[in-house]
């Protein structure tokens, strides 16, 4: 241990180099966490919840990552990528928890890379193509507010692992929501063109909002945020449809999910079990 730099420390004493990439088994996101499931917890329900919230996060992270090299400014590219990274981290923890709870012991990679579109349970809103920056921002505001409302409630989950994942996520989602809200105001209260686009972005979400407010009780919180932010932006409040049956939560997706997953999963499927 001659050197103080951690990367050099890591490079010592390892015969192979298979430590850094997907598929190496090197990193379990819940490694070393007490993962016992308390008695009386509905394991099936808990696993389904972890899977759905994990899928929302993974699919959102993939869409945000698509902005890399394409965002209007470098700062926004870094911001969207950072937000995506937080969500990817949440997805990894949730998938790992799902595999423990559903009894299959599947790893995060199995959930992310080796399931078909029909097996995904993300809400359809998350999988829609990015559109322009205003649409991406409008969607981020809604999804961050909605997820934050859930995670705040989940900090009281009877499952201590999910409660802890939620408590950490609350801090992250708060600044995701903040970022999106500020852009909605800036664009909505900006030029004629930015206002037109911001309004179109919000209106474009409407057909997909019903699903969000179906299964859970987060509608009040999200509507309060939406009302506050659109008022500050001097934009009309989009008409939020009443609750309707699940789409993505039931595995019924738009035509946009399959191509997204094809790209996300391509390397893992071309070289199953590969390490490098």
């Amino acid at each position: 241990m001659s050197d103080d730099h951690v990367y050099l420390t890591l490079a010592e004493g390892h015969e192979d180099d298979t430590r850094w990439a997907y598929g190496t088994g090197f990193e379990d996101p819940l490694y070393g966490v007490d993962t016992a499931v308390p008695d009386g917890v509905d394991r099936e329900g808990l696993a389904a919840l972890c899977l759905a919230l994990g899928d929302d996060a993974l699919v959102s992270a993939q869409r945000l990552a698509e902005w890399t090299t394409r965002a209007p400014e470098l700062e926004e590219e870094v911001a969207l990528a950072n937000i995506g990274l937080d969500l990817l981290g949440q997805a990894r923890l949730l998938y790992a928890r799902c595999g423990q709870v559903d009894g299959t012991g599947r790893s995060e990679d199995v959930y992310a890379y080796f399931r078909a579109p029909d097996d995904f349970r993300n809400v359809a809103l998350a999988e829609l193509p990015n559109g322009d920056f205003a649409f991406t921002i409008a969607r981020l505001l809604i999804l961050a507010s909605w997820r934050l409302a859930h995670f705040e409630r989940l900090t009281a989950s009877p499952d201590p692992v999910l409660a802890a994942i939620a408590a950490k996520g609350v801090k992250e989602l708060t600044y995701h929501r903040q970022y999106a809200a500020e852009w909605v105001v800036r664009l909505g209260d900006g030029t004629e063109e930015s206002r037109r686009r911001m309004r179109a972005g919000l209106d474009g979400l409407v057909p997909y909002l019903g699903e969000l407010f179906d299964a859970h009780d987060a509608k009040t919180d999200v509507l309060a945020v939406l009302r506050q932010v659109t008022e500050a932006a001097d934009l009309p409040l989009p008409e939020v449809p009443s609750c309707q049956g699940g789409l993505g939560r039931d595995g019924a997706h738009t035509e946009h999910l399959a191509p997204l997953l094809a790209e996300l999963q391509s390397v893992a499927r071309a070289h199953p079990g590969a390490t490098w």
Partner: protein
């Protein structure tokens, strides 16, 4: 018993000095992510870490760094555990850690915000609070981006000395 206690102190001392992979001027103790180091009766050293952000890619490196240092110090059985609760906050960065950050041109965080329920704070002016420039000490600074090269840092610039700098944002 005495030797186990002494041993725990020594093991803790070793684990504390492992540098953070992304801000190597800080040790894990400075960052506040090393929660506990104990020695079990059978001699196993148990070090407990907590992640900073859900997606923090440095967690595996931290874990490997702690295990490698302890092994190199002669501990044969080392276990690194993770605790998620309570979640890490920048309030846990020690005074020594804050001093080192500033010394390396990174502005240390202010007090972490309280829990988020309620409306979104919508102040469109970029600066919400005063962050002193870590180079010249001026308070005439502004945020250029709330997101930076790592999850934990924002980009700022000083209007007095014109230098950009990084700022560890409160969480």
């Amino acid at each position: 018993m005495v030797s186990v206690l002494t041993d725990a102190r020594r093991a803790r001392h070793i684990a504390e000095r492992v540098p953070d992979p992304e801000m190597p001027m800080l040790t894990l103790a400075d960052l506040g992510v090393l929660r506990e180091v104990t020695v079990e009766p059978d001699g196993t050293v148990v070090a407990v870490l907590t992640p900073t952000y859900s997606g923090c890619p440095a967690m595996a490196e931290m874990r490997a760094g702690v295990a490698a240092r302890l092994s190199a110090a002669g501990y044969e059985r080392v276990e690194v555990r993770t605790v998620l609760d309570p979640p890490w906050t920048t309030d846990w960065i020690t005074p020594e850690g804050r001093r080192k950050l500033a010394e390396h041109g990174i502005a240390p965080p202010g007090p972490a915000p309280r829990q988020p329920s309620g409306p979104v704070p919508l102040l469109l002016s970029a600066t919400r609070h005063v962050v002193a420039c870590p180079r010249c000490g001026a308070s005439d600074t502004e945020e250029t981006s709330r997101f930076g090269a790592t999850s934990c840092k924002a980009l700022w610039r000083c209007r007095a000395c014109r230098e950009p700098f990084e700022y560890v944002k409160e969480i």
